[in-house]
Assembly symmetry: C2
DNA sequence: GGGTGATTGTAGCCATGGCTACGGATTAAA
DNA sequence: TTTAATCCGTAGCCATGGCTACAATCACCC
């Protein structure tokens, strides 16, 4: 919002992609911890359909970003900052998903499309999504 | 659709990103040719707010993909395949943009969000966008 | 204690898309 | 015809996110 960057359309798209991995990973970690109690590298590899090597390197970057804590051969834990980001990401994710459902998109397709769309929805657009879903659901 | 790939949400998102550059570039080339008669590397660099080096390398890949033709120091031209992709991309882009407008998103924000969202909208979702816009505009 | 399978780490490769620095080509003016 | 500006190419750097191959660690059972 501050930098003139984000007012050039493609710049904003690129900047969205830069934060995308962090958002998806902390969200996934929070979900997996919720389900299984702990989250291991393998769980993330399965979730994202990539190898454990890819996950390890991304997790290392999340550590350097202060979103995640790890010890060798131990499960992955979120920091407080990580939990906050996860919460915000999940919130936005849910709004987008429910919006697509309210629009009449089949659940499976909605789940898939949401995973990409969520990162490109500005606060303003998100608000319109919310409003629409609220009205459509009011019946 | 064919591969089991695209049914894993994040795999589809990644595959969307793989085609994203090609789509945006051929679309931009078509637009710039429309406006100025020809499209040079510099025009694309301005459009995407990157250096001419980045553009050159991406254009080289588009050539190898059969979407674009170039000669040294000459303007960039679309092949027939490039024009077709540009047309499809623009069509989808327009539907997403008009949909956001119909939803009540301000034009500037809609333009920015569209640039990212368009690549993650499945045919099914696109159809719902179209339907919504048609009804909202019918008043 | 030893063996085995699952998990994690590490080395090293590739493609993509950013960049700076610099040099060659084209074009238009002087 | 020289000069200057603009445009383009090339070399070489970086970060990210994929991968395979292999080594180390851990957990658990025998
Ligand atoms: Mn998500
Ligand atoms: Mn996502
Ligand atoms: Mn785009
Ligand atoms: Mn995207």
């Amino acid at each position: 919002m501050s930098s003139p960057n984000v007012s050039v359309p493609h710049r904003r798209t690129r900047s969205d992609h830069a934060s995308e991995t962090a958002e998806d990973y902390v969200e996934a970690i929070a979900e997996i911890v919720e389900e299984r109690g702990t989250c291991r590298v393998v769980d993330l590899a399965t979730r994202f359909a990539v190898t454990h090597v890819t996950v390890s390197r991304i997790v290392a970057r999340l550590v350097s970003l202060g979103l995640v804590e790890t010890e060798p051969y131990q499960p992955v834990r979120l920091t407080e900052a990580g939990r906050k980001l996860a919460k915000r990401s999940k919130h936005r994710h849910d709004i987008v998903y429910k919006f697509l459902l309210a629009l009449g998109v089949p659940a499976k397709t909605a789940a898939i499309d949401t995973e990409g769309i969520e990162h490109h929805v500005s606060p303003e657009t998100l608000k319109r999504f919310e409003d629409f879903t609220a009205r459509a659901t009011a019946d």
